[in-house]
């Protein structure tokens, strides 16, 4: 019995937004640099890949790679900005960035203006177009690669440096961490994830328009991140799952979808500030205790520090 297409669509979206939220976790959760404009980076990735493939006829793989690169570069510029600005000033700058990106998409014909770009091709392997389940596997495959990359970063010297920058910049530079470089890297890598997610969504839907990347989408992605726990890799995917699936489960509440994001943020901040799977988060401790009960938990306190 084939799985209904509806579930395939949901699973694909969970993968795409999981990538976007994971990127936000790297910038915000690990390195402590506030980014309230992640949807802007999705937009940059989506537009780059859409223009290269739909308008210039280049292969989709190249489009997605270019999307990652474009978002990486713009992210690095935002990282340079974050050297000068802190906390809430940085936060409103990233909001302004999101607004500006969307205005530029809307006003210039290269980006399809107010009509958007349509006929964005699907990727194909050996003349076989990927749709339905195969596109879902592609998305989850890329997600898996990006999770591996995130794990590598987290366990490397760079991951430690990110955490140090987040906790205490002065201390970080005192022990020889190049704080500026780490900020630029954190933004660039997080934005690159956003760019890949944007490109994947463009090839999934086949049609994009400026309003797909407006500021409220940044808030939706932020909701996923803080819901799952800003410092947790698995949390980003869980957050994406909850935010993508719950409006579908509560269909009658559809018109209150955006209210739900707002309420979720407030509830999480007040009652579970570390999200569901963050370090020492309630849900994580429960889960670990349950696993320990079945003899599944790793021995000792080793898991501390392994956010994944």
């Amino acid at each position: 019995m084939p799985i209904p297409e509806y579930y395939i669509t949901l699973a694909t979206l969970v993968g795409i937004y999981g990538i976007a939220a994971l990127g936000l976790n790297i910038t915000m959760g690990w390195a402590g640099q506030v980014n309230l404009g992640q949807a802007g980076f999705l937009g940059i990735g989506a537009m780059t890949s859409a223009i290269l493939t739909a308008k210039l006829g280049l292969p989709v793989g190249l489009g997605i790679a270019a999307a990652a690169l474009a978002a990486l570069v713009v992210g690095a510029v935002m990282g340079l900005v974050s050297i000068r600005l802190r906390e809430d000033f940085l936060a409103i700058t990233t909001i302004a960035f999101n607004f500006l990106v969307v205005y530029i998409f809307e006003y210039y014909d290269v980006f399809g203006g107010s009509y958007g770009i349509s006929n964005i091709p699907r990727p194909s392997i050996g003349g076989h177009e990927l749709r339905g389940p195969s596109y879902m596997f592609l998305t989850w495959g890329i997600l898996a690669l990006l999770v591996l990359l995130a794990l590598r970063i987290q366990r490397s010297w760079m991951g430690l440096a990110f955490n140090l920058v987040r906790e205490d910049e002065n201390l970080a530079s005192a022990v020889g961490v190049d704080v500026r470089r780490m900020k630029v890297l954190a933004f660039a890598v997080g934005a690159m994830y956003g760019g890949v997610a944007g490109a994947l969504s463009a090839h999934f839907k086949g049609y994009i328009v400026f309003s797909d990347f407006e500021f409220p989408y940044s808030i939706a992605i932020l909701t996923m991140s803080i819901l799952g726990g800003l410092d947790s890799i698995a949390g980003a995917i869980l957050g994406s799952f909850i935010v993508v699936v719950s409006p579908e489960v509560f269909r009658p509440l559809m018109q209150y979808r955006r209210v739900m994001y707002g309420v979720l943020i407030v509830v999480v901040v007040f009652f579970a500030p570390r999200g569901l799977l963050g370090k020492n988060a309630v849900a994580r401790r429960l889960l670990e205790r349950m696993m320990a009960g079945y003899g599944l938990a790793p021995k000792g306190k080793k898991k501390e520090g392994e956010g994944g």
Partner: protein, 290 residues
Amino acid sequence: MAEIILQVVDGLAIGSIYAGIALGLTLVYGLLRILHIAHAGVYVVGAYTAYMVYSATGSPLASMAAAMASSALLGFLINRLFYKPLLDQPRYVPLMVSIALFIVMEELVANVFGHYPKGFHVEFLSRDISLAGATVNTRKIVVFVIVLAATLLTWALTTKTRLGVASQAAAQDAETAMTLGVRIPLIIDFNFLLGSALAGLAGFLYGYYYGVISPFMGGVVAYKGLVVIVLGGFGSVMGAYLGGIILGLVEQVMTALYPHVLPREAYAFIALIALLLFRPYGIFGRREMA
């Protein structure tokens, strides 16, 4: 010439509405260092209160007063329920909560009153007069005058009264002010009540000026208000007023001169990024205020 006058009058009127919103933001930021995005939700609620009361009574004055009262109460409650418990968190935490609250308010208004704009025609001093060859509606002048009066009143309240001086002391150094007997929670409540009442006033004036209100009228303004207080230097009443007026004028003139380069709203955000990077203490402020 007539064209220039028209643009300037429009810019002043729109700038006045921005100023009305920004005054409350700057009062809150000066004291709590919270970027109070939900202020725009308070403004929307004020506009809809004005609409309801005007529909019921037909009195512009009652409508304006009701808008200010409901907004003041709402702003007061937001502080007590949501900001107060978060003051020791990193500064982006209350900011996130504020954005979330704004979304909730916006959507609730939309779901209660409908997603589409509502006509709101206030019959008050609304006729065309001739001003140096240009035809100008008196509403624009009324908006300008009311906001100017409210600003002067706010300025007087915050500089000439005991409560206002205490509030300034609290904004500069809360701990010292507290040891000198300033009751900080009282000051915070005062600033929220005053600032939110001004947002309600701006909501009423928006309806009066455009003849229409919408649940999403706070959408861009929420973030533009931040531009205005950065422009005027954080925490400064007169700065916020001038910042609002300047933003209104610049938008109007830039859109009239270069209609196809960027949409009207974009200039504010360009200005915001440039200012934060190069003059974070505002265009009037001094370096040490940053």
